[in-house]
């Protein structure tokens, strides 16, 4: 009896292994494609990491609001930066450390400002891609931020922008996006990592399978860093049949913080 159970168990394991191999083969070749044969990124996506807390490896620590206790403390996480270290100039490193100490008053996320690129990609909210041949829209739930990636355009940015100016091209099956004309006020994370208005981000989106994007961003900013550096992470598709991008229009959540002192009757907090 025991033997039969074992045999059945082995058979089941073998079957699962075969099924898994088949599934992988299918997804490797089964990347969704558009009519013009390009990988199709249309869908709702989100990362599964803590890079918005700190793009570098960090331990868990207590959050800034005592009343929120364990519910809103800071989770640990492994970093997304290649080689872990960020090549700050000495002055920029000092600035980063000051930013970190003054996170609550300086981080633009707290005021509901548009997060910029690359940070919008790895905030803990979904984003949606609508891919057309000449334009790829990326809409982010946080602050209703969005950007249109203009494919193969020579057109120049009319002005600096919080979400930058995105020009796309295909490198084989990889969507490459060069993002320039950033506002210097955006940050990389809640740990004070920052950049200047000289920032250039080169993003690479590659479908590893139907439901996973391998994301890579090369950061160049000679005013802040001594050399280019890279971050890498997978981004996962939302597969719930009723998944949709919802509103997170956070202006109204930041008004008390920003304007509360100017009320006729200040709210007691």
């Amino acid at each position: 009896m025991r033997y039969r159970v074992l045999k059945f168990g082995l058979a089941a394991v073998a079957l699962v292994a075969v099924a898994a191999a088949a599934a992988m083969a299918q997804t490797a070749s089964g990347v969704p494609r558009t009519k013009d044969g390009k990988p199709n990124f249309t869908g709702i996506w989100q990362v599964m990491n803590t890079a918005n807390w700190d793009i570098q490896t960090h331990s868990a620590r207590m959050g800034p609001v005592v009343a929120l206790g364990a519910a809103f403390s800071i989770p640990a996480g492994v970093g997304v930066v290649e080689g872990e270290e960020l090549p700050y100039t000495p002055a920029a490193l000092k600035q980063k450390q000051e930013n970190q100490v003054n996170w609550l008053t300086r981080d633009p996320e707290i005021k509901c400002y548009m997060p910029g690129i690359p940070r919008a990609t790895y905030m803990p909210y979904p984003f949606q891609i609508v891919q057309s041949q000449n334009n790829v829209l990326m809409a982010y739930e946080f602050a209703s931020a969005s950007r249109v990636i203009r494919m193969n355009t020579q057109e120049k940015s009319p002005a600096p922008a919080w979400m930058g100016w995105s020009v796309g091209r295909w490198d084989g099956d990889t969507l490459v996006v060069e993002v320039t004309d950033h506002m210097e006020e955006t940050w990389f994370d809640r740990a004070g990592n920052f950049h200047s208005d000289a920032l250039k981000v080169t993003e690479r989106y590659t479908l590893a399978d139907a439901n996973t994007i391998n994301y890579e961003a090369t950061i160049e900013d000679p005013k802040t860093f001594t050399k280019p550096w890279k971050m890498r992470m997978p981004i996962y598709r939302h597969r719930e049949p009723n998944a949709q991008l919802m509103e997170y229009k956070c202006v109204e959540f930041a008004e008390e913080l920003m304007y509360g002192h100017l009320r006729k009757q200040p709210t007691s907090r």
Partner: protein
């Protein structure tokens, strides 16, 4: 040749009696993609002096377009001290509608919003531009001043930046409006509406094609969404029909029995524009809000 035409008709590529210039996407949907501007000199509601005149003549339309800026400046001057920035560089007044309607509202025939008494009361109480507003806190200011939203449909503002970009993918139409950087992503796959618990500033849209026309029905609005005094039962139906390469006809039907005595309909014209869309970073540079509130506090103290 005839065979080709018949095959094309069977495939839905040619609809007899309709403009055959309407292009289609690679996957066969009517193609609405591009950059569009819907600024117009026609007001939403028909002014009393035009009560019996639903259309301008061609000659009148030329005059109205020519005088658009002066008309707007005169209207603005009643509200604010006119300063240098209110000029033809800053303001764009747009053209007449494609059919030269004297108001965007075409139904009811008087061109006016058919408020119920309760609806009118709610509308009058809502903080919107053009009304005398208090400033005890940010909530008493208009939503556009707070950088939260403008109308959740394509009704142009009378001032500027009435630009929109449409991007399509199989199963989706996306409409990005420059003011206030709102991307509306409209699913076309027939999925059920979001649960009734969902209430959003821009509601929850669902779209489908009726021939060449994109129909977008939007529900699930917030009770304080402020669309002309409407309640959360508001239902907005928009219709987009491409007339030619440079023009889309737009129609909006507004239904909310608690607020309007009948559904009402407004029309608009989307004209191709060169772009680019600018990023409307509103909240990020909102120096006005603290200025307005601080000014009101100084007034409280008698300056």
């Amino acid at each position: 040749m005839r065979t080709v035409l018949v095959v094309a008709m069977v495939l839905g590529l040619v609809v007899p009696g309709r403009a055959q210039t309407v292009s289609r996407t690679a996957w066969g949907d009517p193609d609405l993609q591009g950059l569009w501007n819907n600024a117009t000199v026609a007001p939403l509601e028909r002014p009393a002096m035009l009560a019996k005149k639903p259309f301008w003549t061609e000659a009148e339309a030329v005059e109205v377009e020519k005088n658009g800026l002066q008309t707007l400046l005169k209207a603005v001057a009643a509200e604010v001290a006119v300063s240098g920035e209110l000029n033809e560089t800053w303001l764009e007044t747009g053209k007449v509608l494609r059919n030269r309607n004297t108001s965007m509202i075409i139904d009811p025939p008087d061109g006016r919003i058919p408020y119920t008494p309760d609806g009118k009361k709610r509308w009058d109480a809502q903080p919107t531009l053009g009304k005398k507003l208090t400033a005890d806190g940010p909530e008493e200011r208009a939503l556009i001043e707070r950088c939260i939203q403008v109308d959740p449909v394509l009704l142009p503002n009378p001032f500027y930046n009435n630009n929109h970009q449409i991007v399509q993918a199989p199963g989706y139409v996306m409409i990005l409006s420059e003011v206030i950087h709102q991307a509306r992503i409209i699913p076309l796959d027939g999925r059920p509406r979001a649960d009734g618990r969902v209430a959003q500033w821009f509601g929850d849209p669902r779209g489908h094609w009726e021939g060449q026309t994109l129909v977008v029905e939007t529900t699930n609005f917030r009770e304080d969404g402020l669309f002309r005094g409407a309640t959360a039962a508001l239902r907005l139906e928009e219709r987009f029909t491409r007339v030619d390469a440079a023009t889309i006809d737009y129609e909006l039907k507004v239904t909310d029995p608690a607020t309007f005595t009948q559904p009402w309909t407004a029309v608009g014209t989307l004209r191709a524009t060169a772009g680019p869309l600018f990023e409307y970073g509103c909240h990020e540079g909102n120096y006005s809000m603290p200025g307005i509130l601080k000014g009101a506090r100084l007034e409280d103290k008698g300056r």
